[in-house]
């Protein structure tokens, strides 16, 4: 039996729908963070926001870079950079799972014709000193979402607990459109009149722009860079510089007797993210030995924990 996919959402429509859905449920819509991150969790909109007690819900798409996962655009299911749609609900409503199911309906999934399971999957990020309890959400055998109740972040026990919902947009889009390769995903359907606006009537037939057209080159070139061209010596040097500056900023913050909102904690966190990304690059480049690895993870974790503590100290006492 042929599966009906003609009306399936494009990649960008999927994003629109999710943004609209969560905006209507009280989320602030943020833009993707503009420093390299490995996951939506690492954006300060999650990492730092979850540390304080103020109610805050936010949603954003986050392109997430994992240098070691690059496959030169050759593997249909794996990417150097994939897109997470991240929702943070602080505090989560009691019917948070039911709302999540509604979001699936909003992107065109009729749950009465699918098989849905919540399977235990507890998230952990040692470099961030963060972990949580939750599930991977399986739809017809495909993991489409990671749902986590954050318990600890930056080494700090959290209160209130917040819910993190992370949708894997490429996977969901490939599923909805029933394509076997991520690169075949329709990113946008360019309608007739859009072309006509430019007066090029010869090209005015509606056409699809695929994920491959938008992103393939990036996957190829970054795979080559991550695995072959990245200058190992310079990466180490960058890591050292960013780490040192981050430590200096933290020292400034710690040196202040009074907590002040002027303290450069957010910039320090950017520097910490840089370190984390450089570590991933060095790792992909095969430049990190056994002994070094443990040490570097500990160093980045120390930065993240220091930043979390400084941020928590900055908050007015409850």
């Amino acid at each position: 039996m042929a599966i009906e996919t003609r009306n399936a959402l494009t990649f960008q429509e999927l994003l629109f729908r999710l943004q609209k859905f969560w905006a209507e449920r009280g989320c602030v819509l943020q833009q993707p963070y503009d420093v390299e991150v490995g996951a939506g969790t690492m954006s300060p909109e999650t990492f730092l926001r979850v540390l304080d007690a103020k109610p805050f819900s936010v949603a954003y798409a986050q392109p997430s870079r994992r240098p070691a996962d690059g496959r030169y655009g050759e593997n249909p299911n794996r990417l150097f950079k994939h897109t997470q749609f991240q929702v943070i609900l602080k505090p989560p409503p009691v019917n948070v799972l039911e709302i999540y199911l509604d979001s699936l309906a909003a992107i065109g999934i009729n749950l009465r014709q699918h098989d849905l399971k919540f399977e235990e999957d507890n998230w952990e990020a040692p470099t961030l000193g963060a972990w949580g309890i939750g599930w991977q959400v399986m739809l017809d055998g495909l993991e489409i979402t990671q749902f986590t109740y954050f318990q600890q972040c930056g080494g700090l026990d959290l209160d209130p607990i917040c819910a993190e919902i992370t949708y894997g947009l490429e996977r969901i889009a490939a599923f909805l459109q029933d394509v076997d390769s991520i690169y075949e995903i329709v990113w946008a359907r360019v309608p007739d009149r859009a072309s006509a606006v430019h007066g090029k009537t010869a090209n005015s037939i509606p056409h699809d722009v695929t994920y491959g057209q938008v992103r393939y080159l990036e996957e190829v070139q970054f795979s080559a860079y991550n695995f072959e061209y990245a200058d190992i010596e310079k990466l180490w040097e960058h890591l050292r510089l960013y780490e040192t500056e981050c430590q200096e900023l933290l020292a400034i913050a710690e040196g202040q007797p009074e907590a002040s909102c002027r303290l450069p904690i957010l910039p320090a966190y950017d520097l910490c993210l840089k370190c984390s990304h450089l570590f991933n690059l060095l790792d992909a480049r095969g430049a990190i030995s056994v002994t070094e690895r443990v040490g570097i993870i500990a160093r980045i974790r120390a930065l993240a924990v220091g930043i979390a503590k400084a941020y928590a100290r900055m908050q007015p006492a409850a």
Partner: protein, 727 residues
């Protein structure tokens, strides 16, 4: 009386935790009702006339979203009770007929008027007493007070906070609570939720509409109409029947039995149905182990085999829903799509990995951490190799045939598959993948099989590796790990065993027990201690006088041996204690002794011997405490100084029997040896009947102490019978 129903409605509980939680909750509720005298002590027989056991009164139910308990015929109110309390002595409580503060305090504590205090006579004198009348409490009151404590006490492998200010931890957020005693709601609150008479059905098939439960007995059927099968055996049975039925649509096909997977999917579903899917036959060129692992571990699919037992290009998925034909086509298509992508990945990795041979991967192990303080898997491989060589040398002295070259090759390459993409993707296939690559790369069947089965047994249910080479690799790997971890202070303690050393120890015991390798437990420990560079570096360990490490390793393995004999072999704990107390040589020897002793444990003669040996030990202990035990005790019994016929008899029997028993013991004929020991009983009984060991006369006493010490010594080498417990 009324039935009690309790349901905790939760966000999806991890499947692996549900069975234990259901059982614990049921037993906690049952214990609570018993403790609070809310169950009839002599319950009426059940309708079919069979007796009702108190322990099984509470019926447990569960699905991923709920834990429930149903208890039939709970008392609505405790019976009133009267209790007689005894207070201070009468003389202290009343002086000249006037009550003292002691009397007042007692009356207050007992909750009675002063005038209610009465005098009772006891052997110790006259005391103040009061009869306290306690009216029974209402069941609903007891339950609303006590049940939340039981919920809080439930133990979870991993739990979480979810409410502001974090008042409680639980496995997942509690979303509803149902508690009915008969038709009435028991006022109850836990984790901010107030109990009602409302449950909820299947998330998709029933939706958000509440399901009102009219009375406890209606629970299962009410949920069934809301697309929830709360009875676990019923759900399991439905899954098995559906697997059978769906498989029958493929001629000649069978689904691969997989009990852990059946359990898992039972606890992942509320309303299970089964779907048959297919994949392209081209994937069948991949090793079956890889295909089955992808299906089972990653997708929770059952594999299907054809009439010849070969893997067929189909799979069975257990769904948590029921859909029409169109829905089924959509779900099948989705699952097939995911599986195809996974198989593609596996095939890509399989081809990719082949480009670098296992031998060329050895060097790469330098960058794979074994443990941060113990270095890389390259270092580990070097230690494994030394340990395996030493074990092989020990085995060869007993003329066990062994392919030394294949063994060394296998040990050297055993961990190299950790650098392959396929193992990075499917970590549970480590070893198996190495074996497959070794075979594909022409390293020989012996080496390939040893690599493939190095992690066998993974659990108590597993068998052991087939070949001597594989067994030695398995022993060397585990022993080196255990000794090295102990050497840096990472031995397991209490419930903490982060490196699964107990499981490694269990593997060692099982291999030693079932392989027939001619190695004593002590010899294996010594080889591992000697070959570990870490323990080598400590001078006191190589000289055999090390205090700490050697002993803790020995104690660890004694503990593992006890576990093996009890839990895997099922010998009674006192038999195991007896056998271990008599010393350990090889593991099969300990098994044989436990077997022989278990067979005669309940016999009257053996119980009498056991009682006598206990008595001997007690007497010897008392003698030692009183300073009667001179050196040389037990070595010299002066036969001419034995005056009573009974002691002469015992001496003669013991002297005659000892060499016979020792000969049987030396040839491991334990059942016969124990039979012979049992014949000592009349002499032992007569001795204790007629002879007073602790006689005031010093010489006589010394001689008798020597006699019983020699009896104990002669016949305690198979087992320490004094450890036997008479039931």
């Amino acid at each position: 009386m009324a039935d009690l129903l309790l349901e905790l409605g939760l966000e999806e509980i991890p499947a692996r935790m549900i069975a234990a939680a259901q059982a614990e909750l049921a037993s906690r509720v049952n214990d609570l009702l018993k403790r609070e005298r809310l169950l009839e002590t002599c319950p009426e027989p059940s309708p079919d006339g069979s007796p009702v056991d108190d322990a099984s009164r509470a019926l447990g139910y569960s699905t991923p979203r709920r834990l429930a308990v149903l208890v039939r015929r709970v008392l609505l109110q405790q019976h009133d009770t009267e209790e007689q309390l005894t207070g201070p002595s009468w003389k202290v409580a009343f002086r000249d007929g006037e009550p003292t503060p002691a009397a007042l305090a007692f009356a207050k504590k007992a909750g009675v008027e002063l005038s209610a205090l009465v005098k009772v006579s006891t052997p110790k004198g006259e005391y103040v007493s009061a009869v306290v009348h306690r009216p029974g409490r209402k069941a609903a009151d007891v339950l609303s007070q006590e049940l939340p404590k039981e919920f809080t006490a439930l133990s979870w492998p991993k739990s979480m906070y979810w409410r502001p200010n974090k008042p409680e931890r639980f496995v997942r957020p509690l979303r509803w609570l149902l508690c009915l005693l008969g038709e009435n709601v028991v006022p109850l609150e836990f984790a901010g939720i107030v109990a009602g008479n409302v449950s909820y059905g299947h998330r998709i098939l029933h939706g958000d509409a509440p399901v009102t439960i009219a009375e406890p007995a209606a629970y299962i059927s009410a949920l069934k109409s809301a697309f929830v099968l709360a009875d676990v055996p019923e759900r399991r049975e439905r899954i098995r029947k559906s697997l059978d039925a769906v498989t029958r649509t493929v001629p000649g096909a069978r689904w691969r039995e997989d009990k852990p997977l059946v359990e898992q999917v039972t606890h992942l579903t509320e309303w299970p149905t089964v779907l048959l899917g297919s994949f392209e036959t081209e994937y069948l060129t991949l090793p079956e182990e890889v295909l089955v692992t992808v299906m089972r571990d990653h997708q929770k699919y059952f594999a299907v085999e054809d009439a010849q037992g070969k893997l067929a290009p189909h799979f069975l998925a257990v769904l948590n829903t029921e859909v029409d034909a169109e829905g089924l086509a959509i779900i099948r298509h989705g699952n097939e799509r995911v599986l195809r992508a996974r198989f593609n990945d596996a095939r890509f990795f399989w081809d990719y990995d082949q480009k670098i041979s296992l031998a060329d991967r050895l060097d790469r192990l330098k960058s794979v951490t074994f443990q941060k303080d113990l270095g890389s898997y390259f270092t580990k491989t070097e230690i494994n190799l030394q340990t395996a060589k030493a074990l092989a040398a020990a085995v060869r002295t007993a003329d066990v045939p062994l392919d030394q070259t294949a063994l060394e090759k296998a040990v050297l390459l055993a961990k190299t598959d950790l650098t392959t993409e396929l193992v990075k993707e499917f970590t549970e296939l480590q070893g198996v993948i190495g074996g497959l690559y070794a075979r594909a790369q022409g390293l020989g069947e012996t080496a390939a099989q040893a690599i493939a089965t190095q992690y066998v047994p993974a659990s108590a249910e597993d068998g052991i590796p087939q070949t001597t080479e594989a067994q030695i690799l398995g022993l060397a790997d585990r022993m080196a790990t255990i000794v090295e971890m102990f050497a840096i202070g990472l031995e397991p303690s209490g419930s903490k065993d982060p490196f699964a050393l107990r499981r490694a120890g269990n593997g060692v015991l099982k291999i030693l027990a079932e392989s027939g390798l001619p190695l004593t437990l002590r010899a294996v420990e010594e080889i591992a201690l000697r070959e570990s560079p870490r323990t080598n570096a400590i001078p006191s360990i190589t000289s055999s006088s090390d205090p700490g490490l050697r002993e803790s390793v020995a104690a660890f393995f004694e503990d593992r041996l006890a576990f093996y004999l009890r839990e895997v072999r099922g010998y009674p704990y006192d038999v195991v204690n007896s056998v271990l107390a008599a010393g350990i040589t090889t593991v099969p020897d300990a098994v044989a002794r436990a077997q022989a002793l278990t067979a005669v444990r309940g016999s009257e003669d053996m119980l009498a011997i056991s009682a006598a040996f206990k008595r001997i030990k007690n007497i010897l202990r008392q003698a030692a405490e009183k300073g009667f035990q001179d050196q040389g005790l037990g070595e010299f019994v002066l036969a001419q100084d034995l005056v009573e016929p009974a002691e002469q008899q015992l001496h003669n029997e013991s002297v005659k029997l000892a060499p016979e028993v020792e000969a049987l013991r030396a040839s491991h004929r334990y059942p016969e040896a124990l039979e012979r020991i049992a014949t000592l009983r009349p002499a032992v009984d007569a001795f204790f009947d007629k002879v007073m060991v602790m006689t005031p006369e010093a010489n006589l006493r010394r001689n008798r102490l020597s006699l019983i010490a020699s009896v104990l010594g002669n016949f305690s080498r198979i087992a320490d019978f004094s450890e036997i417990v008479s039931s």
